[in-house]
């Protein structure tokens, strides 16, 4: 992703996801754990790498803000009915 990782980047706008893609799936996983997206995760957890499933590229493990861990399935977790809950932030 072509984001800059300075500490004060705040999103300029937000829209809702319209259909399921791999990116939406990952955003869903980040938002389950309480982050906006990968960018915010990297900002909060300084220097930690995001663990992903090798075959699909889906997020595997996230550390939440209270330092507990969420583990995600290698299969799709974001069902059709959850898609409109996913927020896509633009910077």
């Amino acid at each position: 992703m072509g984001f800059t990782t300075d500490n004060n980047s705040t999103p300029k706008s937000m829209s809702r996801a319209k259909g399921w893609t791999a990116e939406i799936e990952n955003l869903f996983r980040f938002q389950q754990a309480g982050y906006r997206d990968e960018l915010e995760y990297i900002q909060v957890k300084q220097g930690s790498l995001v663990d992903k499933w090798p075959e699909s590229g889906f997020v595997k493990k996230l550390q939440r803000r209270d330092n507990t861990f969420y583990y995600y399935s290698r299969k799709r977790e974001c069902e059709e009915r959850d898609i409109n809950k996913v927020k896509v932030y633009a910077y």
Binding site: Q32, K60, K61, R64, D66, N67, T68, F69, Y70, Y71, S73, R74, E79, D82
Partner: protein, 223 residues
Amino acid sequence: MELKTQGFTVKATMKNSVVVGPPAAGAFRERPPKPTTFRKFYERGEFPMALQHDAKGNRIAWKVEIEKLDYHHYLPLFFDGLCETVHPYEFFARQGVHDMLEYGGTKIQPVIPQLIIPIKNALNTRNRQVICTTLKALQQLVMSGGLVGEALVPYYRQILPIFNIFKNMNINSGDGIDYSQQKRQNIGDLIQETLQVFERYGGEDAFINIKYMVPTYESCMVC
């Protein structure tokens, strides 16, 4: 007046007596649940996990990374919890087993010998719900890594007798809908499925060993 009596007694030879049949052996009767070690440890707060509620249901938030857990200690404990039928123990045991198997990789196989007794105990409760969850856990266990299926073959004698008892537990509803199939709660189907997974992942000795314990099983592999 007719007299009811047990068979093979002196009374049974009398003309006015009717011999009643033998009592049920109770092969399908549920056994009373015993207190589990899992519950004890959970109440002591020894598991590194917490319950998180969200809109879709519940999820475990692990306080340490699963990769860093001592599998020799925790995995048998979680399997022990499969006997539980009440919340929150049932959820933690089921989900904990699922998570540990999914992310365990190579750490699972050395623990297999310690898992047999909990698995056997869970199946022996003959509680339908417990059998269902245990069967699903077994399928995931066998598929979790390279040699786990083969490592399980020597233990078939311990776990397959219950499979044999419940294998025909299916209903013939004609063309009616059996909703338990859709919900994956049909024990007969689950057992058939599990045995097929055992055969696929168990290497060349699997089939003959399954056949020995479950004579009605037929191979699912094309030679």
